[in-house]
């Protein structure tokens, strides 16, 4: 279903923004508080457009808030990468580098989607994600090629995050018809440009792609990690505590 595809992309952004928002007032410097909030805002904004589009495609009358607040965990289709705990700033930067680069490649390709609305959302998002990638890249350089402690933290962060990047390029969950019709992009085709961009930054930062072929997955089928339930409880509690209310 086309709405399932759009929903998965929306959930990626929604959950990524939720994690980024947790950083607010906790960043290493003020400029970074501004920057992370900015990226969270962009990502949330993209997610909102995608959620509304998915809701309309579904045709069951669900709006962005119904989809964000009233679905249960197994109905969320985001990749597991975005739900992982923020960890320290190194983990956050590695997550951002991997995820923003993926989103950037994806949106760049989706500008040519035959779903015009999706193409329009992608066209706007691609310029936003370009900035996210750039921001993550600069921090990767500063941390990878700065002090030994930061280098060690970045290495640990890469070891922790890398296994979850494989799921980004899985294609099995996408309705083949959507690929045939040119609505969806085959994620497997994004892997090579993604890896080349990420690897280039890592090498420049004196870091390296970890040698680890563990590839956890399941998010696209509604199977998440144990932290997801806590994230949703916090995000949805207030909305659910007041059924039918307008905010």
């Amino acid at each position: 279903m086309r709405s399932d595809y759009v929903l998965a992309l929306a959930d990626d952004g929604l959950i990524a923004a939720q994690r980024l928002a947790e950083w607010t007032s906790r960043a290493p410097e003020l400029e970074e508080d501004v920057a992370l909030a900015n990226i969270a805002l962009d990502t949330l904004g993209q997610a909102r457009l995608l959620l509304s589009h998915a809701g309309e495609l579904e045709g069951a009358g669900r709006d962005e808030d119904d989809l964000a607040y009233l679905r249960d965990e197994q109905d969320f289709r985001n990749c597991q990468l975005v739900e992982l705990d923020n960890g320290d700033f190194a983990v956050t930067i590695v997550k951002l580098l991997c995820f923003a680069t993926y989103q950037h490649e994806l949106y760049a390709a989706l500008r040519r989607s035959t779903d015009e609305r999706l193409a329009a959302i992608a066209a706007k998002a691609v310029t936003e994600t370009e900035y996210h990638v750039d921001h993550a890249r600069l921090w990767t350089l500063r941390l990878g090629d700065g002090t030994p402690e930061a280098h060690r933290r970045m290495t640990d962060a890469l070891a922790r995050i890398w296994p979850y990047t494989h799921e980004l390029f899985e294609a099995g969950w996408i309705d083949p018809e959507l690929l045939a019709e040119g609505v969806a992009v085959d994620p497997a085709t994004l892997r090579e440009p993604w890896l080349s961009t990420v690897d280039k930054t890592l090498v420049e930062a004196t870091l390296a792609v970890p040698d680890d072929d563990w590839a956890p997955s399941g998010g696209r089928h509604g199977v998440h990690t144990e932290v997801m339930g806590y994230l949703l409880a916090e995000m949805q509690y207030l909305h659910r505590a007041h059924p039918g209310a307008t905010w």
């Binding site: 906790r26 290493p28 003020l30 909030a37 949330l44 995000m235 909305h239 209310a245």
Partner: protein, 310 residues
């Protein structure tokens, strides 16, 4: 002497003193203290509202709140930059905040206990801030005045958003309405206290007035705020927790009960509900980020060396 005469003339003519101009040491010191305290307030002020970011009950409100808290960080940045034109560094000022040697607005030492508090802060706290700050847009020190113009524009946007949030709650379910009323009940007197002690007990005021930094007394500003807010409360359909509140036809002002200034003094001196928590939060963020800042500095140094060698 000549410099002092020039300074007095500029200030007297309602023109701007700029960083390169001579200024009395007390003027400089007072401004640094005031601008720093203002910047600190923006930074500490991110916490009470930030507390609801992950729990905002709609995505539209989540985006608005995220943008607002981001604006506060931005205001902090402008203000530290304005203070830096007076010859102090942000690092020095931040250190004074973290070590408790400089204050921030005591309003942020109260907790946000429900979603409606986000609205009450926008409506009442930002409302009071605007009343306090609008006159500062005409302040005699150029960089501060210019920062305030930009900040006030954004604050008034935030104040309308807070009002709108409460307006929605006040017209929502019984529980939402109760939540809104409870928030207003808790934030009203702390907002009144934001204007400081009564004029009779206020220090620094006369000199600040003469230097065109302060233009109205604490009590004048407080009255202006009450007049504005009492009317808006009617539109909201929420009550303010003051039985004595009444419009005085003759004076054209609202009569109101003064806040408990003894409590204000307790909170200022450190014993508000969240003083320790707010500073500890900021200190932890600072300490946790030390390795990041160190690495960024080390990287920048390496880059400089590389460029020099190239």
């Amino acid at each position: 002497d000549e410099l002092a005469a020039y300074f007095d003339a500029v200030v007297g003519a309602e023109a701007k003193i700029e960083p390169r101009d001579w200024m009395p040491e007390a003027y400089r010191k007072g401004l640094v203290r005031q601008i720093a305290q203002h910047a600190h307030s923006e930074i500490i002020g991110m916490q009470p509202e930030g507390n609801w970011l992950t729990r905002a009950p709609s995505l539209a409100r989540k985006a608005i709140l995220l943008a607002k808290v981001q604006d506060e960080a931005g205001h902090g940045l402008y203000l530290y930059a304005a203070a830096e034109t007076l010859g102090v560094s942000r690092v020095q000022l931040f250190d004074k905040l973290l070590s408790g040697r400089q204050k921030y607005s005591s309003i942020f030492n109260y907790p946000t206990l429900s979603w409606a508090d986000v609205g009450a802060i926008g409506w009442l706290v930002d409302g009071a801030a605007i009343v306090n700050q609008v006159p500062l847009c005409r302040c005699s020190y150029g960089p501060y005045a210019r920062a305030m113009i930009r900040i006030c524009k954004e604050e008034s946007f935030h104040q309308r958003q807070g009002f709108d949030l409460l307006y929605t709650l006040a017209r929502g379910t019984d529980e939402q309405r109760a939540m809104a009323q409870d928030a207003v009940d808790r934030w009203w007197y702390p907002s009144l206290a934001m204007f400081g002690p009564p004029d009779a007990d206020s220090t620094h005021s006369a000199q600040s007035m003469a230097w065109r930094i302060k233009r109205f007394s604490n009590d004048e500003l407080r009255q202006k705020f009450v007049d504005m807010t009492a009317q808006q409360a009617g539109v909201l359909g929420l009550s303010l927790p003051d039985e004595a509140l009444a419009y005085d036809q003759e004076s054209g002002h609202w009569r109101y009960t003064q806040p408990d200034f003894a409590e204000l003094m307790r909170v200022i001196s450190g014993d508000g509900p969240c003083n320790r928590q707010r500073i500890e939060h900021r200190r932890r963020a600072h300490d946790d980020g030390a390795w990041v800042r160190d690495s960024a500095a080390a990287y920048a140094a390496k880059q400089r060396t590389r460029k020099a060698a190239a």
